[in-house]
């Protein structure tokens, strides 16, 4: 009898622990009126340049903190802290993504109740970060022109979970065969509610619209305590 095969119904999400932790992060930051933004992209698409532009653009208007997860380097956090913004460097030790537990360590190390916005710079990768909820209220990704307009076909999940897509390095457009219309069509098929902004962190083109988007989102979050 003891060796008969029995069925146990599990009916549980594989990542249930992470989803629970992510919900805790969201609730906790809702109480302190701190919006958490998860920034994702490939390596080299301009996450750090964007954050540096953002530090500058939000100065005096929005109290910002940054959690950096670039693999085993303190260079990025040092650059951000030099702009007068609290920055925490997470040691991800070669991990391919951040999860909600790692983000919790980051916000534990920060005086989040004094902040309006925390930007998490996720590990540079378009695959794994899309699968792990970080506890963010908003997900934003950067795609840079040299990466090509076919990326939504290769990494559909990433494009389908984001609230905003920043197309960076538009200063490269004249040199490239990147088809902006094709990109937008592909992205909108996957995710009709996404906002797409074209920017260049190098020249500053379009950066103002990103800053305005951020300010509006942070304002709306503070007003209704993120009660979405």
């Amino acid at each position: 009898m003891g060796d008969a095969i029995r069925l146990i119904e599990v009916k549980e999400e594989i990542l249930s622990d992470n989803i629970k932790q992510a919900d805790e992060v969201r609730d906790r930051l809702r109480k302190t009126k701190t919006m958490l933004l998860n920034l994702m992209s490939s390596p080299g698409s301009g996450k750090t340049s964007l954050i540096l532009r953002t530090v500058e653009g939000l100065k005096g208007a929005v109290k910002l903190g940054v959690i950096e997860a670039d693999i085993d380097s303190t260079v990025d956090a040092e650059k951000v802290a030099a702009g007068g913004v609290p920055a925490i460097q997470l040691r991800t030790g070669g991990f391919c993504h951040l999860d909600a537990t790692m983000v919790t360590q980051g916000i534990d190390a920060m005086a989040v109740d004094e902040l309006d916005l925390v930007i998490v710079e996720n590990v540079g990768n378009l695959v794994c970060p899309a699968e792990f909820d970080t506890g963010a209220h908003k997900n934003v990704m950067i795609l840079s022109i040299p990466e090509g307009d076919d990326k939504p076909l290769k990494y559909p999940l990433m494009f389908s979970i984001c609230d905003l897509l920043l197309v960076n390095k538009i200063d490269y457009l004249p040199l490239s065969d990147f088809d902006m219309a094709a990109l937008k069509k592909r992205v909108l098929v996957l995710n009709p509610r996404i906002t797409i902004l074209e920017i260049s962190c190098k020249t500053g083109a379009g950066v103002e619209r990103w800053i305005d988007w951020l300010k509006e989102e942070v304002d709306a979050f503070g007003r209704d305590e993120g009660g979405v």
Partner: protein, 116 residues
Amino acid sequence: MHELPITESILKVVLRHAEGQNVRKVVTIRLQIGRLSDLEDEWIQRYFDYLSEGTIAQGAQLKIERTPVMMRCSACSASYEVEAARIGDLVCPACGEGGGTLLSGREYYIKEMEVQ
């Protein structure tokens, strides 16, 4: 790419559900995983074999059922299946419009397990 943390979670959930059920051995674990995920079945099993060593789940077979990517057209509400690799370039077969909401394809679910 991230089969290892996923496999750790599977093992954790399985062991938690086996607790107090007088389980001597887990034989089969049935998973439902959406086609949008990049997980390789072979690697999940290999990591699982490694991680489960010395537990009651050692030697368990993972049976993975892949859920198709289904979209609902935002223009005409028809639902249709999409090949994951061509997803951004597809249009609704009923009305020819692009764009819609994802109905399935992102699943990450443990359905059931067979135990002794």
